[in-house]
Subunit: 407 residues, 2 copies
């Protein structure tokens, strides 16, 4: 009998976990999962951690517990060496593979706009979400104590995609609850959402975009369209329109891209993502596969978006293609099944669209969003906590206390 | 009309909050609460945060939300200046008062035993609890990856009081759940509880002490009595008996004392606490009051213990005495009403004693402990979260996943 095929998966996000879950049922393969953190992050809810709605523990899930029986290595990959079929880890050790699956996700990108790297807050990992939370709540304290000017209470969110809309709505709801704890300064808080293009949620239909904008405005968000960011300083944001926005906190939700390192090992396309063929294989390689936000997969002349449903479907599919390679079967091509899209705006405010062309706005869309997110949360335990927290938020909004923010 | 009397309360713990809650109903006083953190910590549950059972957000509660209408100042007090009736803050500003209430709590103390300060982990604030959690879970990862020896999986808790018993039991339960995630190393984990005196829980009756010891041993805790700590090195603990315990983590629960600074302003007694008269007034002062763990109050020739029920009763009482001073009424003397005591050992394992001499052991005591702690949790929101987390723990113990540990 030959030795089992060794498959290494880098990245414990939606894509990597889906791949490993599908592969571990195959007795002829050895799977090793590598990530720099021993937990999976439920990133669609990062904005709730950033705005004090959920404790960070609720959206992280221990990988070893999720994958009993699978080998897991916590570590940083320094270099992928396709010519040697091995990885060089940051601690100097090498890890060899027969097949490599790259699922390293994406990071926030600033498009090189001056000052953004330095002054804006990204929201792609738990440390960044924690930094936003500490900035927001720390500012309330500092302004209350007159150590910062009231202008610091102005928050700007850059980027009118689903993440920007979600975080702007959540900041607006947070600001509406400030009167209880900071009555003297609450009226000076404001939230502005800045979008370079002519409408919010550009991948949705125009009706949904307009609905999102109206709902945000009802919550108190000032929406500025056709307003690209030109440059940023410590306490103001300069728009291409010539307008200058004084601000204490800028949350950057204007775009994501794959990590720069990927460019060293293959040909990259839009968003620095690695180009893959119809089987999710890296162009020019026989045994390196790319899935999730790291992969640029073209379907009907468009590159698939960097969202969790694409990542999960790719993860499950790559398990099938690698199994086909090992067993000398013909490879199945990847076909994305569009399940529709949704974005939440606030409590009982959301938009959703099905691939059949049906749009939902308001409470129905919000309940669908809620059900889907609770359903996808990896751990039963986290599901219980999130339901308790959200139930409380819902029942006590405006009356009940928020959670404490601990430095 | 004369100006309102200005009362400054330092410390937002059980004692300080109880005082402020009682004082704020009085229209003739202005109350200012000062703490270096804008949240109240529910410290009896710190050991659950330290062992991954509860997220830290569940045991912290925003002070401003707890005290609507009360002025709150976040800051460090550098110096108390009784001769000027004012405080010097760390940022150089002065805060004046008519009456001062010192409720600054306690910190862990090492009794000057060599190496303890440097190598043992204290558990008196949320940052210390977080450090214990990261050490415990970080060690599992490092040993799994062979970066630390298996001896690092040995945990020692020093101190056989309620806190030591609680944390030793919680570590034992955590270690019993390791098989799922770390099957290769789980068997090397161990937990030892070291106590200098002849029995655990010395303030309980002997039956309760023995019960606690038996229950801990059933959970897998090695209990070493009559074993004072002599000195400590990075990876071993030397006992007075001559025994040397190799260990990766030492949790120090052997004693607490008031902060050293208090000695600068008054006469201190046992545990560096400020001596107070029968009205909770600092000896030799007319308008400085001391409550909670900062106060050494003698009753029936014994100094009251540093526990939450004493602190809360003192807080409520000092509000009455200060009001009496202001209104020229005779001062009421403080009398402590003993409600009994309890300590939890693990899931469905606890001991409780009433002042009438009734002892409860096992599930009944545990349920009493549970009800009392959930009842005392400051925020309705935290109560909901804690119940959800504990409910989950209880239902899924040994099956369900624990929470992730985020650096």
């Amino acid at each position: 009998m030959s030795r089992p095929t060794k498959i290494v998966v880098i990245g414990a996000g939606f894509a990597g976990l889906a791949a490993v879950k599908a592969l571990r049922r195959n007795p002829d393969v050895d799977v090793l999962m590598i990530d720099r953190h021993p937990y999976q992050l439920f990133s669609p809810l990062l904005y709730q951690v950033a705005t004090g709605g959920l404790p960070e523990d609720d959206i992280a899930y221990p990988v070893r517990a999720a994958l009993p029986g699978v080998s897991f290595l916590r570590g940083d990959v320094a270099r992928i060496q396709p010519e040697k079929n091995s990885l060089r880890m940051a601690d100097g050790t090498d890890v060899s593979y027969d097949h490599l699956v790259i699922a390293t996700g994406s990071v926030g990108t600033t498009f090189g706009i001056p000052g953004v790297e330095q002054y804006a807050l990204q929201m792609k990992n738990i440390h960044e979400a924690r930094a936003i939370k500490q900035r927001l709540f720390g500012t309330y304290e500092e302004v209350q104590e007159s150590r910062l000017p009231r202008e610091s209470l102005r928050v700007v969110v850059v980027g009118g995609g689903p993440t920007g809309v979600e975080v702007a709505g959540a900041v607006a709801e947070l600001q509406r609850s400030l009167h209880r704890e900071y009555p003297a300064i609450a009226d000076y808080a404001s939230i502005t959402l800045v979008e370079a293009g002519p409408r919010l949620l550009s991948m949705f239909k125009e009706g949904s975009s307009n609905h999102a904008r109206e709902e945000l405005e009802k919550l108190g968000v000032e929406v500025k369209l056709n307003s690209a960011v030109d440059r940023m300083y410590e306490s103001d944001l300069h728009l291409g329109t010539g307008e200058i926005l004084p601000t204490g906190t800028v949350i950057w939700a204007a775009g994501v891209a794959a990590p720069e390192k990927l460019g060293d090992i293959g040909v990259t396309g839009p968003g620095r993502r690695l180009l893959v063929d119809e089987y999710l294989r890296m162009q020019g390689s026989a045994n390196v596969w790319v899935i999730g936000d790291s992969a640029a997969f073209t379907e009907n002349d468009a590159v698939l978006p960097m969202v969790a449903p694409v990542a999960m479907q790719m993860g499950r599919h790559v398990a099938k293609t690698i199994t086909a390679v090992i067993t000398d079967q013909p490879l199945p091509a990847f076909v994305y099944t569009d399940k529709g899209q949704m974005a939440t705006i606030g409590r009982r405010r959301a938009v959703a669209e099905t691939p059949q062309g049906i749009s939902l706005h308001g409470t129905a869309a919000w309940l669908a969003w809620l059900g889907l997110h609770v359903g996808y949360l990896a751990g039963g335990r986290n599901r219980v906590s999130v339901i308790a927290d959200w139930g409380w938020n819902y029942l006590a909004w405006g009356l009940g206390p928020r959670r404490a923010v601990i430095e």
